[in-house]
Structures are given as structure tokens and as C-alpha cells.
């Protein structure tokens, strides 16, 4: 029995040690370094005009991308689980593609389509629309990288609840919209919420894809993660830490939301 408990404790120590060295100590260190110059300095550093404009651009991109992807996610999950069509396996795999593609490749792809020498470059220039090095490009990049989350959360729930209730509603004469609103939507709402939280986190934190298409114009096309990098490269460590801490706080709020939603989901 003694060997058993020794083994248990050493496994626990190894797991917690790995987590501490890789995750907890570094994150704790960032908060420590952030607060070192005092709370006043931190607040001043995250309320400069550049920081405020970066935060609002980040939130704007997320506010556009997340609802669009939520609608897409519900449609995609419905098609995937309830639909019957050829090429379903391909469709299924393609939904996951944004998870597997490097953010840099995403940025390059948008550049090749919407950039000056891209597919639609001339047409966009003729109509005075700027996508690359401008807000629409940032939004497109954000939409791309946060695309699969809602679909991936909703699909398993749809599969689990089955289609019997929906069929019953349809037999009783409900229109497909009524069936969706009264039967399907209430049962997938927690999955949708969970997916929305995940995609919001990803949308707010996206760096690589956005950094290719943004042009990094301070006060205009600079998102909060880009500001972190710029401050770091300019040796403004305190400023970089403060902006990082702001993002980390958003991440922790996301985590809290995930934990709460998870317990909610398992209960119902």
C-alpha cells in the first residue's frame, strides 16, 4: 500500500510541476511584473489613446465575427447532423480546416484575394474599397480563425437529442422555422453559448492572421494583440505587460464563463 501512495503522490507532483513550470508560474509572473510599477501606471498604460483604440477595434472585430459565425455554426451543424447529402464527410472535414491552417497562411490567403495585386484587387480599387491594411481585412481574418467553434459544439448536441421531437412537431403541422425556434433552439442553446465563448476568446486573441493584413497603423488598424507586440519590440516592457494583462483578464473571464457554462450544460 505504501508503494501505491508513493506512486500516487509522485505522479501528482509530476503533473502539477509540469503545469506550474509551463503555465502557472509564467502567467503569475506577468501579473506580478504588470503590477510592479503600481496600479496607477497600469491604468495609465491601458488607457492611452492607442490602447483604447486598439481595444475597441479588437472588440469590434469580435462583435462582427462571432454572431456571423454563430449563425453559420448552427446552420452547418444542422446540415451536418440532420441533412443527407453526398460529400458530407468532406463538408465535415472542411469545417475544421480553419483550426488546422496556420494563421499566417490565413493572412497570406486574404492578401492574395483582396490585396492590391490579388484576385479582386483591381475591382476593389476601382470601387474605392480597401480591405487589406484596413478594418474589413481584420474582420475577415477574425471570421476565418473563429469559424468552426459553434458548429463543433452544436453538432454533437444535435446528434444526441435526435430528431424525434422535431419530427413530431413537423407531423403536427409546425413550419420548419417554428420547429427550429420552439424545439431545436432551446435544446442547443447552451452549446451555442459555449461555442460563442470559445470563438470570442479566439477572435479577441488572434494575432498571426491579423498581423499580416492589418498594416499596423496606430490608432486605426492596430488590435490589442498587435499593440502588445509593438510595445514589446519598442522596449516598452511595462506597457506590453499591461496590455498583456488586460488580454489575460479577458481570457480568465472567458475561462470562468466556460466553467460556468460547462456545469450548466452537464446539469441540463
Amino acid at each position: 500500500m505504501r508503494a501505491d501512495s508513493l506512486r500516487r503522490v509522485s505522479l501528482r507532483a509530476a503533473a502539477l510541476g509540469y503545469l506550474a513550470v509551463l503555465l502557472l508560474l509564467p502567467v503569475g509572473m506577468v501579473f506580478w511584473r504588470t503590477l510592479e510599477p503600481g496600479v496607477g501606471a497600469v491604468l495609465a498604460s491601458v488607457t492611452t489613446p492607442a490602447a483604447i483604440s486598439a481595444l475597441s477595434l479588437t472588440l469590434l472585430a469580435a462583435a462582427i465575427a462571432v454572431p456571423l459565425n454563430a449563425v453559420f455554426g448552427i446552420f452547418a451543424a444542422l446540415a451536418l447532423v440532420r441533412g443527407r447529402f453526398r460529400g458530407k464527410a468532406v463538408f465535415d472535414a472542411l469545417i475544421d480546416l480553419p483550426f488546422a491552417v496556420s494563421p499566417i497562411v490565413v493572412g497570406l490567403a486574404l492578401l492574395l484575394v483582396f490585396g492590391r495585386n490579388g484576385w479582386f484587387g483591381d475591382w476593389l480599387a476601382d470601387h474605392g474599397i480597401q480591405v487589406i491594411f484596413s478594418v474589413p481585412g481584420i474582420v475577415l481574418a477574425t471570421v476565418f480563425v473563429s469559424l468552426p467553434f459553434v458548429a463543433r459544439e452544436v453538432a454533437p448536441v444535435l446528434r444526441e437529442i435526435g430528431s424525434e421531437q422535431e419530427q413530431a412537431a413537423a407531423t403536427l403541422g409546425a413550419s420548419s422555422w417554428q420547429t427550429f425556434r420552439r424545439i431545436t433552439l432551446p435544446s442547443i442553446r447552451w452549446a451555442v453559448a459555449y461555442g460563442v465563448v470559445l470563438s470570442t476568446a479566439r477572435a479577441i486573441g488572434e494575432f498571426g492572421a491579423v498581423s499580416v493584413v492589418s498594416g499596423k497603423i496606430a490608432g486605426e488598424t492596430e488590435t490589442l494583440p498587435l499593440l502588445v507586440e509593438k510595445r514589446f519590440q519598442n522596449f516598452d516592457l511595462a506597457g506590453a505587460y499591461a496590455a498583456s494583462a488586460l488580454l489575460a483578464v479577458i481570457a480568465l473571464a472567458t475561462l470562468l464563463g466556460m466553467t460556468l457554462l460547462n456545469s450548466r450544460r452537464t446539469r441540463t
Partner: protein, 275 residues
Amino acid sequence: MSVAVPQPRVRTRPVSNRTGLLPLGVATLWLSLIVLLPLAAVVLRSTEGGAEAFITSVTGAQAVSALRFTLLISLLVAGVNAAAGTLIAWVLVRDSFRGKSLVHAVIDLPFALPTIVAGITLLALYGPASPVGVNVSFTQIAVLMALLFVTLPFVVRSVQPVLLELDEQMEEAAASLGASAPTIFRRIILPNLVPAILSGSALAFSRAVGEFGAVILLSGNIPFETQVASVYVFKQVESDNLGGAAAVSTVLLLLSLIVLLGIRGLERLGSRHEG
């Protein structure tokens, strides 16, 4: 046991025939516009100069070195995750200690934390201003740590549910027959976990191959040493060599596709075991 009872053949018309087309249409349109069209542009751009130009781009010394380093370090990341992730999942499921629910919540932190913050975070502790006197910045170790940070949850989250559902009776039976704990783990538990470990590691691998934000600050981007493929592509874009960037990107895309299809195969394998 199985007595064949002739089933009355009732053809039920799926409801989906009424509702299925609109969702499919909208979803396909969105997917094509946002994802497929841009990615097609990358592949087409990489072949624009003919096969020769493509091959020249991806066999340049710096490109080859970046791709090789990315591939090797991602394999290492997948391997470390297979072990560490399984260990953490094991401790979370089978062990009990104070603060376990906190650890549980913290596992997902790398998914929630922006990647650039992950890089800053590691630099704060293991960078030039390290309070513990460890400075790994601009080394391959730094790249490894950054990738391990961002891929931490994959294996834990894929192994955990399987471990939770594992029937402990098998282990009890083995123990009563005199098997030691390591033997039980190796012969009974591990075989059941293998599909989950593999698919979690494959996800970690594919994430590591493409990772950019966490690496950019830590790696120092030293060609032939710490330059990963995504940073190489970024540098090509910055110096306006879009053809070269597209060629290496196409290689990365192919790699992600292979891994994605591999994971599908593993999942199918896993569900066959269940059924």
C-alpha cells in the same frame, strides 16, 4: 442469441428533406467565401510560376531548414504532449487533492489566452529579465516551450473523457490476479487510451506546425536555427515574395490536410472500438 426477426421495411422520410437544404446552402456558401476561396488563392499562386518555380521556392536552403525544424519540433511537441497530457488527465481523473477543480479550470487557459500573451508570459519568467536566472530566449528550447504552452490542453482534453468512462472492473480483476500497478496500466489502461492519445497528439502536432504568435517573440527568428515555417512565410510576405510564401504555405496546408484526415480516421477507429 441472435434470432433474425424480419424487420418490416418502413421507409421514413427524414425531416431533413424539408429543413436540410437551406442550412446546407448557407453553410456551404459561407465556408466557400471565407475559407475555401482564399485558400484556393494560396494554392493557385504557388503554382503560378509552374512546377519549377514551386520546387525552387520550397527547396531553397532557408525554406527547407525552416520546414525541417518545424516538422521535427512539432513531432517532439506531439510526443511530449502524449506523455504529459496523459499524466495530467490521469491525475485529474484518478487522484483527488485540494484545489483539483482549480487545476481542472486552468488546463484550458492556453486556449483562452492570446498567443502573443503566451509568448510574453514565457519571456517574463524565462527571458533576459528572468527572476530565476534562466534565459532561454532565442533558442530552440524557447520555441519548444512556446509550442508546449499553446498545445497543452489537446491530449488532456481528449484522454480525460475516455479515462472517466473506463470500466474499473477490468483493473480490479487484473489486480486480483496479481498484476502490479504498472502492468495494469500498460496492459489494461493504456490500450484503451491509445486512440484518444493519438488524436490529441495529432491535434497538438497540427497546431504546433502552424503556430506563429507564441513563437514570434521567443524564437528571435534566427534562420537555420530557430526560424519556424510560419515565421519564414511571414518574412517572405514582408519582403513581398508572395510566390515563395504561397509555395511554403501550400506545403503547410497539405500537412494540415493530412493530419486532419488522419484524425478523422483515428476517430472512426475509436468509435468502432466503442460500438
